[in-house]
Symmetry: C2
Subunit: 412 residues, 2 copies
Amino acid sequence: MIAEIISVGDELLTGQVINSNGTWLAGELHKAGIDTRKITVVSDKAGEITGAMLEAESKSDLVIVTGGLGPTNDDNTRQAICDFLNTCLVENTCVLDNIRLLFEKRGMEVTETNRKQALIPKSCRVIQNQYGTAPGLMFERNNKLFFALPGVPFEFKPMVTNEIIPLLKKHIKNNFIVHKTILTHGIGESFLADKISDWEGELPSNIKLSYLSSPCIVRLRLSGKGKDQKHVKKDIDKLVKKLKMVIPDYVFGEDNDTMQSVVGELLKKREASVSVAESCTGGMISHLITSVGGASQYYTGGIIAYDNDIKINCLKVDRSLIKKHGAVSKHVAESMAIGVKKYMQTDYAIATTGIAGPEGGTPDKPVGLVWIAVAKNDNVVSKKYIFGNNRERNILIGSITALNMLRKEIMD
Amino acid sequence: MIAEIISVGDELLTGQVINSNGTWLAGELHKAGIDTRKITVVSDKAGEITGAMLEAESKSDLVIVTGGLGPTNDDNTRQAICDFLNTCLVENTCVLDNIRLLFEKRGMEVTETNRKQALIPKSCRVIQNQYGTAPGLMFERNNKLFFALPGVPFEFKPMVTNEIIPLLKKHIKNNFIVHKTILTHGIGESFLADKISDWEGELPSNIKLSYLSSPCIVRLRLSGKGKDQKHVKKDIDKLVKKLKMVIPDYVFGEDNDTMQSVVGELLKKREASVSVAESCTGGMISHLITSVGGASQYYTGGIIAYDNDIKINCLKVDRSLIKKHGAVSKHVAESMAIGVKKYMQTDYAIATTGIAGPEGGTPDKPVGLVWIAVAKNDNVVSKKYIFGNNRERNILIGSITALNMLRKEIMD
């Protein structure tokens, strides 16, 4: 079964909104063993939607349209389906009841605008929306399966997970794919490619390698196909084991791990706690750590010491140290880490001080310079990094790099 | 001039990586007055890339391919262009020199893998890459203009801004579009639509309205076309003025504003400072504030009091208050705000305490419950919110809502 995704919305073609639904849906289909041939973004115009559906129908078995089912005047997917199927809109009582129920829960009357959402193309089956007013739609034509789903992620995702995927799984038999992703930090894509070229050269033809780069992290994904699922899985496991021996210093996780989830797991295992003192990263390290559910088991708290007085008063950094070496220095980073560790009484502490940019750089201390320190027991280690010119990137890379330093110290 | 964007990469079709390049590029083209008809994501296979190029050529004037120009084996865009143009790859000395220069800067020898990137399709013009080794490519066929650009955002974006857009602007004359976006917070899309329906009904036919929803923010974008740019601009300004009178409580910014940039500007204007005490938002408020360049002018610092002991020791929240009302309560939120304001000696302070989830909810205090407090002068105000079940969303919405409360207090 080959799928095609059509995402609808002018806002997706003008740079205002990113097509995260399309990516997420392709991922869910992929996990279910369905390859996506193409993701197409088209405008709100009914004609464009119909055109894309015709094109997709000619090449794929499954077509999923997302967006354009809302209550406002720029939502034309229902009309496009009517044009495509040569049918008309009729009011669906089940959908209207669901809309009434949702409004009742919120203690409100159904508005005329929302009532319009109960009008659906005559020959479509309805998929109820548990979290909103726009129903999902389903129909078949020329032996191809079509879905139209609401674009609001909060409504769209549960509908895919709870309704569409189980439905599709019934259609698919003997079709599978095995994935394994290895996460690396601290080495660029082309250097990684050179380091693992011998290993890559020995990959069997049914197992494919992809390089996926994001700021300071490169993911290596192996995708294997074959008749015997267990056999492919075993082959991939062997390859992963070999790969880890080739680049042991860079691998930090697998599959859906993140640097913060890996660090969290390590701290939980050791029943250890951590605190954070952030200057240039401005709360990002704490945010990353606490984005993991259950972080309260190991994350005690943090101090964002943007102003030097906070470094001095809260973190007990010696004023003379700042005067002598500057706030962005090895000494201050180390003193911040020691200070927050003591203050919050944790087993580990991280500290950052640097120049995120775009302003504030000097020839001696350019934008992108970051000192990171990690304190543990009675010891503190620190390292100097020079990242780039982009504030957002410096904050993110600085934060991930700091978490990696903590990871290495925990494992040491 | 109508554009079509083709984004290349298996990783974009398997849910691993989101097509942010496509969205960003469409936005840049849009600003330059070029409409994007379609964004298509295709796999790494040379055949799929060629197929998409043929399809785009038949309907658009400008085709931009992104990705697949890297040094690794899954990068096939150069081969696809050769197939499309019926030509072959030749080593380009300018490109090779650029690669050598980049490697020299990093104190390294050119690797064989990277040398491959100097091989380009014979009839293409080269666009130098200032930040990486993969050059951009340009060619014409059947009076249509083609570009192929590297997929790494850090290399791709400057190439678009510095080379492609100026080049395209020369092609376009008498073609323009005027945009204005109004940002609202605190009201859902369909309610907003009802509230402004009279105003919307009076829009002239050359001015289009779009609703763009993101967590707890709805953007209203007006796009106007016409022969007289000044005239359209004036019409839009009038409409915006009227709109603001219809929904004064919800509008907080315009165009590229963010809640944090609006709050930052207000604080700068009043020469006031702010500090933050975060529990459930875990650093996100501080991160949002410090994501704005120059935040050190008004952001003093923050305390992330995840553990109750930090609330008591650092923020001087009375232990008995926590015992009596619980950590997630009006009293504790207010006490946290007062505590951090005093500790950091700022003019304003924000505090949050809540249950982000997925664990930790009770019938009395469900997941999604957040208390937000804002302290100013000798006063403190607080409000209770109940968001949803999603941790990530609760953290983000809680943070934006807290910043909005601060915004309203500053303007009061």
